[in-house]
């Protein structure tokens, strides 16, 4: 498959992933107001877990572009995370630090869990 096909797959996956996260964020903004950053955290954790799992599947280039670079990349967001740290800092420095630290720990835990699940290192059903 050519470069253009791969790039289009990234665009399609990115559009769907972004739409899913935006839906989550807009719902959170409506229901949680000041705590809407929870939606970003949840999307980033889920996206990290999914990409960790997909990384073990040895996907061909186009499905990898669609699902990993596209969907997971679009579903997760680093720019809103950066902004949310600053928004929290306006009211509480410790809340901002906690959000940053908890986010980082949970992103890494999630990608690791997804990866281990894909490798069969976590048994779900016995």
């Amino acid at each position: 498959m050519n470069m253009r096909g791969t790039l289009l797959a990234v665009g399609l996956g990115g559009a769907v992933g972004t739409g899913a996260r935006a839906g989550l964020s807009l719902a959170a903004l409506h229901m949680l107001a000041d705590a809407a950053f929870i939606a970003t955290l949840a999307a980033n954790i889920l996206g990290a877990a999914l990409i960790g799992y997909l990384a073990t599947r040895a996907l061909p280039p186009v499905p990898a572009a669609l699902l990993m670079t596209g969907f997971c990349g679009g579903f997760t967001t680093f720019s809103l995370f950066s902004l949310e740290v600053l928004v929290l800092m306006e009211t509480s420095v410790s809340a901002a630090l906690a959000y940053g630290a908890v986010s980082l720990v949970l992103w890494i835990a999630a990608v690791s869990a997804g990866y281990r699940l894909g490798r069969g290192q976590i048994s779900t059903i016995r």
């Binding site: 972004t18 740290v85 928004v87 800092m89 990608v111």
Partner: protein
């Protein structure tokens, strides 16, 4: 914020374009440097751009408070923040690269990548904010 189908489609389209820009930039940078630098460049440029846009808006509306900004954001900023930059920047790829570095025994690189990204993201967003405010006030 008024959410309709057109707004939602614009967010999705923006996310698709942002993701394609990320893929194109990443593949170009990773030809010259380790792919972790490509992800860092994408995430920091996206964070700075979001700060710039928010700063410009804050200066225009006369306020300097970020809290409540997303609720009151004009649709264009919401499409840019949620869509374009949301699709452009990524946490999943960053997390996967940190895991791969760790598993390859490059543990210091993994820690530096993870901590460096999380610490520098908000810093470049502040810089973007300051530049955005200065640009609008100076104009």
């Amino acid at each position: 914020m008024q959410v309709d189908l057109f707004f939602f489609m614009a967010v999705c389209a923006g996310g698709g374009l942002g993701a394609m820009a990320r893929a194109a930039l990443s593949s170009w940078i990773s030809r010259h440097a380790h792919v972790a630098w490509a992800t860092l460049a994408v995430n920091l440029s996206g964070s700075a751009a979001l700060g710039l846009a928010c700063g410009a808006l804050m200066a225009q509306s006369g306020g300097v408070v970020l809290s409540g900004m997303m609720e009151a954001a004009p649709p264009a900023l919401a499409v840019f923040a949620l869509g374009v930059l949301g699709g452009y920047t990524t946490v999943s790829t960053l997390a996967l690269q940190v895991l791969m570095q760790w598993q390859a025994g490059r543990r210091r690189a993994a820690c530096a990548n993870a901590l460096g990204s999380v610490l520098s993201g908000p810093v470049v967003t502040v810089l973007g904010l300051a530049i955005g405010v200065a640009l609008v006030r100076g104009a």
